[in-house]
Symmetry: C2
DNA sequence: GTAAATTTGCAACTAAGTTGCATTTGAGTA
DNA sequence: TACTCAAATGCAACTTAGTTGCAAATTTAC
């Protein structure tokens, strides 16, 4: 883990105004270093190489980061949440790619759908989420 | 449960070539009678009013229906699968509405996104799934 | 009506995520 | 630097959706 990820993570955590704890900083640094969305288990594996951290604590750290908009959660067909750092401000129309073989999740550029599929009468639109399924480069 | 749903269900199950069992027919009839996607638990509640059916059997019936393209499964943010009868042939660009208050899932008309968000080099597109989030008429 | 394969019911299991509570720690203050 | 206290952590126990293995029941073809 290069130092600059830890530095960047510390700064981001500090900036929330909440406590800048060891676990929060280490967890965020791990996510900053990743190109893809990670599951709780994958993060745990990466973090527990050098020091231990409790799985419940990690759940709570991730929950906290999500609430603070440092990361976003992606629901998968395997009933597992994946977490990805928020690089820029996400719009209300976000897109993900999911590899149907290795389940790896990659964030795509935001997009616009016009027109949206029309909603039943009385329904209120808030946001859209587009999931593109296929095979990633390593799985073809 | 009107008789015609049971008749329609029996015909659809027969048409697969596999065994037309009591549970398969009753389960499909229940889904045919619904406007919205249902969870395993919701289907169980509706089915167990008059006769009992084992929850594992229901999981297997739903799995079988999905494989036979009688229904499609929708993954939700609550880690629960929802099932909806396939009214017509679904395209490879399907859309759902999810109410963020009551979690009810409604199928929307299929749609086209052009252009698709561009994929990383070497990635292969297969299908898209659009989730529109907001509030349904009853929750506003 | 009988036989053979498929389906069902039951019990036990898996795995992600949650809750309650006692202990520890970050960070502001003396 | 030490002190304080709310916030964060670790641990054990729990919840819930979904899965697996196997013996018993059911469907359908003959």
């Amino acid at each position: 883990m290069p130092n600059n990820f830890l530095e960047k993570a510390r700064e981001l955590v500090r900036h929330t105004g909440d406590r800048a704890t060891h676990h929060r900083i280490r967890t965020l640094a791990t996510l900053l270093a990743e190109q893809h969305a990670l599951t709780h288990r994958e993060i745990e594996e990466r973090l527990n190489v050098k020091e231990q951290l409790d799985r419940v604590t990690l759940y709570r750290v991730l929950e906290w980061m999500s609430k603070k908009n440092l990361v976003h959660k992606i629901a998968g067909d395997d009933r597992v949440w994946r977490f990805r750092v928020n690089t820029e401000l996400h719009s209300h129309q976000h897109a993900h790619f999911v590899c149907t073989r290795c389940t790896k999740v990659t964030c795509l550029a935001d997009f616009k759908i016009k027109p949206l599929p029309s909603l039943p009468i009385g329904y209120l639109f808030h946001e859209t989420e587009l999931t593109v399924k296929g095979l990633c480069a390593e799985c073809i």
